[in-house]
Structures are given as C-alpha cells and as structure tokens.
C-alpha cells in the first residue's frame, strides 16, 4: 500500500453522490446522514461494509431507485475502488482521490 492510501475503515459507510459539490474532474460523495438538498430523483451511491460486501444504489432508466448487492475492494496501489455484482462483474469502478470523515471524492471517469 502507498502511504497515502486511505484507511479502508474510513470507507465503511453508505456514501451518496452529492453532485451539487462536484468539480469538473471529481465527484463528491457524502454519508447518507448528510443534509442533502432535495433531489429530483434518487441519489446514486454505495454502501461499503467491513466484511467486504457492498450495496450499490443506482437509478433505473425509469427513475426508480435500484439496489444491487456485491463485493467491494480498494486497490492499495491504484486507489481504485471496485464493486462487483453477484456474478463478479464490475458494476462500479472509481479512483478514490480523498477520504474524510464525511466526504469522499473520486475521479470522474
């Protein structure tokens, strides 16, 4: 692991996209307890659990919220956070750029 690799324990929560705070190149996620402004549709995000399981929260094409269980992993070298579904297919992959107590940022890719 690199010295600047985030402590995985800090990731153990449910993070939702706080798109109002995004920059051109980084997406901002906040814990679900954050005082988000109202959103027209569900907020996508993910819950990362200590046992390696994760739940992916998405938006269906019809606007309905979706939940998908899977497994997550943080690559210590590349800082790429990956969630795979039950068939081990990657359903989310994002390079983590910072992790704070109530703020997680990933590169927009």
């Amino acid at each position: 692991m690199n010295d600047d690799t985030p402590d995985p324990a800090r990731l153990h929560k449910r993070w939702l996209h706080s798109y109002e705070e995004d920059t051109e190149t980084e997406a901002v996620y906040r814990p679900e307890s954050y005082a988000f402004p109202p959103s027209r549709g569900p907020r996508p995000g993910f819950e990362l659990r200590p046992d390696g399981s994760c739940i992916l929260f998405g938006i269906a094409p019809t606007d309905a919220p979706t939940t998908e269980p899977g497994r997550w992993n943080l690559n210590g070298d590349t800082r790429v956070l990956t969630c795979t579904d039950s068939t081990r297919r990657p359903v989310m992959s994002a390079r983590v750029t910072s992790v704070g107590e109530d703020r997680l940022t990933v590169k927009k890719e």
Binding site: D22, E24, A27, R40, P44, D63, A64, V91, K108, E109
Partner: protein
C-alpha cells in the same frame, strides 16, 4: 439558452390531451380519483401504480399515457436519462443519442452554464435538457436526436397511442 446548444434544439411537435373515452368505452374526463388509506407512496415500490397495493392500476399503456404523480414522459417515448443508462455515474455510458454531450451523472437545482464533466468542455453538460434532473424552470429542451427517437417510438412501440379500444 446557451448559444452552442441553440442549433441542436429539436421540437417534438407532440401534444398530449386528456382521454375522452376510458378503457371500457365510457366517456371520461381523463382524470380518475382514487381514495386510499395510505398516507404516502414510495417510488421504490411503485405501489401507487397498483390497485392491490393501495394505488390504482394503469389503463392499457399501449393506448394511454398514465400519469400518477410524476412520470417522466420522455422515457415512455424511449428516451434515456441524459447522463446515460448506467445506474451509477460514469463517463463511459451513453444515452444513445449523439447530439447530447457525454455527461457524468444527474445534475440538480439550477446549474450555471457551462457545467463541465467527462471532458465535455467548452460547453459542458446539456443540463437544460428535459432528461436531466434540474429544476422545472431550468429544463426546457429536447435535442434533435432525442426528437427522432420519440418519433420512432410513436411509429413503432407506441403506434397504438390514441387509437380506439378494440371492439368499439
């Protein structure tokens, strides 16, 4: 309206009106009211769309556009969210039209132009598109290719829209 997107504006020329005949062939105002004991509905379960769960069943969706509380009509006419089909934000998915810039995820509220994501500078996201999640007073356009998709949907999947009930 930002200048770069002005040439891309498409006019759907699609108008909806309230139904005058219900699925049984009886006259209707096109509006039905349903009393329910439920105090709220979750968009997770879509209970409002089924009589069995305290809501009201749809009329034949091939012939009617049903609206409960807030249905985005674009999807009924085969449009995708402008940020693409992926369930989580991503620059590597598509909304299947080429004249909307590649966009990371939903925008909300009242963004200011340009709002750049996914290397789509200088003009950024077409956030004023009806298929984004911005405020009502901030969304006001479909693109030409979105209009083409809607017209194709009316010609094929939704070709029975507005036609009389069978047997009438």
């Amino acid at each position: 309206m930002p200048d770069p997107f002005k040439p891309l504006i498409g006019n759907p020329l699609i108008a909806f009106e309230l139904a005058t005949v219900d699925p049984n062939g009886d006259p209707t105002t096109g509006i039905t009211r349903t009393e329910t004991s439920k105090t709220s509905f979750s968009i997770d379960t879509e209970e409002m769309k089924f009589s069995a769960t305290g809501g009201i069943d749809a009329w034949d969706t091939r012939r009617y556009l049903n609206i409960w509380v807030c249905t985005m009509v674009g999807q009924y006419l085969n449009l995708s969210h402008i940020w693409g089909e992926s369930r989580v934000p991503s620059c590597s998915d598509s909304d299947f039209v080429t004249d909307t810039p590649n966009q990371y995820g939903p925008n909300g509220g009242k963004p200011t132009f340009p709002h750049v994501t996914c290397n789509n500078a200088p003009h950024g996201d077409m956030f004023m598109n009806y298929m984004d999640y911005v405020d009502d007073d901030t969304m006001f356009m479909f693109s030409k290719e979105q209009v083409a998709r809607m017209h194709a949907a009316l010609e094929f999947e939704r070709s029975q829209l507005g036609t009389p009930s069978p047997g009438m």
